[in-house]
């Protein structure tokens, strides 16, 4: 049986179209991908992303352990920041891309892709068993204990505060969240759990992600509906992240595509030892961003050509509802010269010219 988030019944009540996403029964759309995408770009939308995994790594030395297993030296970062990083295999291939939250001293959350939660957990456990200070560090999967709602779009603050404050009247929510800067988080201890709010997202817009005890999640969702925040499904989420030029695991990154090839080297600190350092120098391919010249739409797996030579393939491709054009990331041979401005994408019977562009697309 497929897994369901705590908001499953809410999605059915809203007549969402439900699909299987990595073993989770999730809303792909409510009213339509185009108007849901537009809501986030022009107003605000919300996403149930409770299926994402929260893996807690805590105990004396947890920070140093994360420094060792992740692509960045997490323990030295400002604890208010949410940090994007990679969990890698020894050879530099990617186990997952994730966000690191520091909730307390030596108490961290890794927020991971739903499809990878179990794999990540096993990977971390395996490394820990060989790790010197293993007795001090505990790793736990907190996913089922928490709901996660992303509120995205300019102007998300007031509705988020209005929806959250009545649920937690005793917490000083409006001041702490009201002053939160981009890519920062604040956590509030709640008995044995936490309320965590970060000014982050996966759409390229300003917005907030709220992690809260599973039992409180429906209240927040309903309060946000009363604030006229439009529910958006995974279809719009994927269109928005691609428009924003953000990578997706299994597409731009995988066990076979390392972060350097994906063009994400700025999230890798190579001047030290960590699991995956061997990616250094392994850069046979590179990621490029493409935009259509005609009405064609590039899709995952389509072949990319330069002067009739096959040079790579599309890793993510979609129609961009905001631009009304086809947009894509492609992984191509690293020796494609820098000055080249156009390539061709094979779409069914024809090859279509695509301009090489920069991200974000919008």
């Amino acid at each position: 049986m497929m897994k369901r988030t705590i908001l499953y019944d809410e999605h059915l009540a809203l007549k969402a179209k439900m699909v299987d996403f990595a073993g989770w029964e999730m809303p792909v759309q409510y009213t339509g991908i185009k108007d849901e995408t537009a809501a986030v770009r022009e107003a605000q939308g919300m996403f149930d992303v409770s299926h994402m995994g929260e893996i807690r790594v805590a105990g004396t030395g947890a920070g140093e352990f994360l420094d060792y297993v992740l692509s960045r030296k997490i323990s030295l970062k400002n604890p208010e920041l949410t940090n994007y990083a990679f969990l890698c295999y020894e050879d530099g291939g990617v186990v997952d891309d994730l966000m690191v939250y520091q909730l307390d001293t030596e108490d961290y959350w890794l927020v991971v892709n739903a499809a990878n939660t179990d794999k990540d957990f096993a990977h971390l456990q395996e490394i820990l068993t060989k790790y010197e200070q293993q007795n001090e560090i505990s790793i736990s999967n907190e996913t089922d204990n928490y709901g996660l709602i992303a509120i995205q779009g300019t102007g998300s603050l007031i509705p988020t505060l209005n929806a959250l404050t009545p649920i937690y009247p005793a917490l000083n929510i409006s001041e702490k969240i009201g002053n939160l800067k981009r890519f920062r988080q604040v956590s509030f201890p709640l008995n044995d759990k936490h309320l965590v709010v970060s000014r982050t997202g996966y759409t390229g817009e300003d917005g907030y992600e709220v992690y809260l005890p599973a039992d409180d999640t429906t209240k927040l969702w309903r309060n946000l509906l009363k604030e006229n925040i439009k529910p958006c499904g995974l279809g719009a989420r994927d269109a928005l992240r691609l428009e924003a030029g953000l990578p997706l695991y299994g597409h731009e990154l995988s066990s076979q595509i390392n972060p350097l090839e994906a063009g994400l080297g700025k999230f890798v600190e190579l001047d030290r030892d960590f699991v995956g350092k061997a990616m250094m120098g392994k850069q046979q391919r590179k990621s490029i961003a493409l935009i259509s010249e005609d009405k064609s739409i590039p899709r995952d797996g389509y072949q990319v050509f330069f002067q009739d030579q096959e040079i790579g393939y599309i890793t993510s491709g979609s129609f961009s509802p905001t631009l009304n054009k086809g947009i894509a990331f492609a992984l191509v041979t690293a020796d494609l010269a820098e000055g080249i401005t156009e390539v061709e994408v094979a779409i069914r019977r024809k090859k279509h010219t695509y301009k090489i562009t920069t991200t974000p697309f919008v």
């Binding site: 179209k17 792909v28 759309q29 339509g32 991908i33 185009k34 995408t37 279809g235 994927d238 269109a239 009405k295 064609s296 739409i297 899709r299 979609s318 129609f319 509802p321 069914r348 019977r349 024809k350």
Partner: protein
Amino acid sequence: MAEYRDDRYYVESHEWILTDGDTATVGISDFAQEELGDIVYVEADSVGESLEKGEIFGSVESVKVASDLFMPIDGEVLEFNEVLEEEPELINEDAYAAWIIKIKVSDPSQIDDLLDAEKYQEIAE
């Protein structure tokens, strides 16, 4: 709820066909457009070709996916409904009015093997 019109025939790949003498129009069912969601691109680059039942005559794309379109019977593709080039969303608005291609029917007896609205609905749902 998807609508199923009994003035025309269907195939399992979700195309409908509506005959008019020895020509016919072909489109996709209301069920198919609902499944696809916002349709953003339609193409039929087979105009002028004679195709057999089951061969690809074009494609329809939503934001998320591209789907091939299949000939419901043998025929020559006479015309593509070019209005759909600029307004592919017409298929979402009325899948039975927004025909995609017009064909010349090669063998009218093939119509008898197609699905009527009731049988198609059973298969689709």
